[in-house]
Subunit: 208 residues, 3 copies
Amino acid sequence: MTNKDDRFSFGADIAGTLVFAIEGAVAAVHGNLDLMGLMVLAFATALGGGIIRDLLIGDVPPASLRDWRYGATAFAGAAIVFFLHRPVERHMTGEIVILDAAGLSLFAIVGTQKALAFRMHPLVAVLLGTISGVGGGTVRDVLLAQVPTVLRSDVYATAALAGAILMTVAYRAGLPQIWAATVGGLICFSLRVVSVWQHWNLPRVLGE
Amino acid sequence: MTNKDDRFSFGADIAGTLVFAIEGAVAAVHGNLDLMGLMVLAFATALGGGIIRDLLIGDVPPASLRDWRYGATAFAGAAIVFFLHRPVERHMTGEIVILDAAGLSLFAIVGTQKALAFRMHPLVAVLLGTISGVGGGTVRDVLLAQVPTVLRSDVYATAALAGAILMTVAYRAGLPQIWAATVGGLICFSLRVVSVWQHWNLPRVLGE
Amino acid sequence: MTNKDDRFSFGADIAGTLVFAIEGAVAAVHGNLDLMGLMVLAFATALGGGIIRDLLIGDVPPASLRDWRYGATAFAGAAIVFFLHRPVERHMTGEIVILDAAGLSLFAIVGTQKALAFRMHPLVAVLLGTISGVGGGTVRDVLLAQVPTVLRSDVYATAALAGAILMTVAYRAGLPQIWAATVGGLICFSLRVVSVWQHWNLPRVLGE
């Protein structure tokens, strides 16, 4: 990739971090946590998925701890919710669904790409891409002592999984990485947005 | 160990992974999770203990992510429960106790062995062996927002601990590793099966 | 640091481990866990924060698993509560607050120091110091299926954070490490003790 691509991809990563941090902080407010809980949930939601991925592929310290700008962005997300809770809350059901779907796609794709770059088996790369996308939200829900929403409702992790699979297949089929990423990301994004709009759900078990 | 031993031990490891994955998937169905939750819990239960152990001894990426057959086995366990939930459920109280005890023993022994091979202190090797055995079930229960069953009921982690201690003592006493492993594994297995059969429990505190 | 400093700092570390292990074991008794749960919570509370920090900075196996005396100390804490539950419980609201504040300060300072020694960015060092202090208690509460108390009540993580910030600032300003540590530790300790005494709390969000 060129330097310009790098800068674009870093900017997108920071934008996704901010969106996830805001969502984490809002969840903290709903969970009746104080300012410290709000900061912890902003950090955990925004950076948790990538940190778990980096621990598992052995890239430590995790990327988001090597570059202070990730932590600062998560902190900014927490501050926005702390000072502007009501205006933020008003946008939580509309725009945030789109922004969250974009963040999910981005994290899933970046995670898959990194796992492939670390020469993980394609099956494992798909797994790690999905974890990058949904790991932060899972840590957030565990800290709130709730069953992670990604495990019980609608098409969220599934969208990340589909995007990661498609990207991996496209990449292995010889497509340039940037195209493989675009295809995977678009599938994840569309699947997520359409499923919210159409109230899609996954089955529990077959024949019951 | 000879090559034949290696193949046997790999086969046993995969069998244990399948049993634990099935148990995780059944727990997901009971927890009212969807297909994605079912897959996540199958993975977490089957591979969680070994992954935590490998992160702690610094063997990353964890063994179960380096070899795609572990992930595929966990996935197969999830698929079995998804498609054949009722027949599986019928066997959950009988055969599964025996299979689970076998899986627990195997994971505890393999974990202890690996920790000793990485030159951890015997006390730490015992700890890591126990974690290998019960870590997956602990992660599963945390994801279900429940207090891990291993922390509050009957002789489960205790069986793993006893097996890990006995194996470590036997190994340090100079017994060949294969014998130390067999002794430890048999103790863990018998202790677990007998304790289920006899409804043994651990005390909470002394004198209350 | 001289050898004598090292011995002092090791002794303090072991003392902090014992206090945190006792608190974890008492939480296990309140949570109705058995002897195994009591041991697991003692270990998790005492060593969890440092283990998470070491995983994140890439110092594996974690320090507390390389030296068996940490595990043995956690085990001793569990044994004390198991055999002497009632006398221990009687001291839980008085002396233990002071001892816990001392343990928190120590862990936060040691964690910050280690992160700085591993050349992490100051912002990240502050984060890791705080995690060292409160990570164990967080893992304990997650295992008890509760929202971690550090996220929702009073000035606990905040004291660790303040100590870590002050120490990092003092260190970067050129103060000798031992002085930076002392200043940070005293601030953390005082803030914690005064906040318990004065019932200080953090706000949730501004303007509500």
